[in-house]
Symmetry: C2
Subunit: 165 residues, 2 copies
């Protein structure tokens, strides 16, 4: 299966929330996201890496317009569960490389990350799936990130490839 | 857009690697995944949540059969870059809920996480995209996790839904 890029998508309307050191016990993630669903907050990326201790961090992205509402929900969560801290950051742009066949091409993610590193763009968050690799960068680096990735994958594009700036 | 579940996928042939406290500077992720691509390691999920300090953790999943090879690459990375520790864990099963329209249904992830919590199954890693939510659990809880999720989403399934056990 040849790797084919079908698009690069930029979203600068999001903010991210990180819950630090929440108890790594069954039911905690269910509790947090049920509280958010109750007030109809649309969550985009949810990212939790693995740890060794009894605590874990969970990051997620929301629409920037929902930040105030989410902060209220997080205050409630902090009162009801042990959480070290919650921090918010709206200085972000999500840039995603979309394409088929990524799974079987080990170098695609490496090339995308390297293309950002070459432009001195720091990757603040990463999430991947079979058809998409998403990186969070600073908001004012969104366009620069799209251009860097476009340059790297220009040879792999479909006929009518459109960089989504 | 109605939310429709098209499948639940279980993969018990993976292991995960977590690189703790790597420098959160441009180019680091590119370096790590280029080293892995060089020896043709197929990486599945890559997950990095956000932090506040100058260090960050990166977790990724590989095929269990590649663990020895990956450990060699990580030894090289530990020598060339500051990394606090790298740990490996092959006691994992990845269970994914696949379906269209997740993005605009805030409660889908909450319901999936809650269905695992109800069965006392701990979620060790999380990664989401528009069409898929993946959770890593212990290897011997893989089937139990699929059954719990199937029970929760039974009403949402397509006509010819097949739980992939
Ligand atoms: C941290 C959180 O994901 C917890 N491990 C849970 O299962 O809900
Ligand atoms: C930690 C790693 O992702 C780093 N921030 C980078 O940009 O490569």
């Amino acid at each position: 299966e040849r790797f084919v890029v079908s698009g690069i998508v930029l979203n600068k309307k999001e903010a991210r929330v990180t819950i630090k050191e929440v108890a790594d016990k069954p039911g905690i993630a269910g509790f947090i996201f049920t509280e958010l669903a109750r007030v109809n907050i649309n969550v985009d990326m949810i990212v939790q890496s693995s740890t060794k201790g009894g605590k874990n961090d969970i990051s997620f992205t929301i629409e920037e317009k929902d930040l105030k509402e989410v902060e209220k929900v997080m205050e409630k969560i902090k009162k009801e569960r042990e959480v070290k801290e919650v921090f918010y950051n709206s200085d972000m742009a999500k840039v995603s490389l979309v394409g088929a066949g990524m799974q079987s091409h080990p170098g695609v993610a490496a090339r995308m990350f390297t293309s950002l590193g070459r432009e001195k763009i720091n990757i603040d968050m990463i999430s991947t799936s079979e058809i998409k690799i998403s990186c969070v960068v600073k908001k004012n680096e969104g366009e620069k990130a799209v251009r860097a990735i476009y340059k790297e994958f220009e040879e792999d594009k479909e006929e009518n490839f459109e960089p989504g700036i």
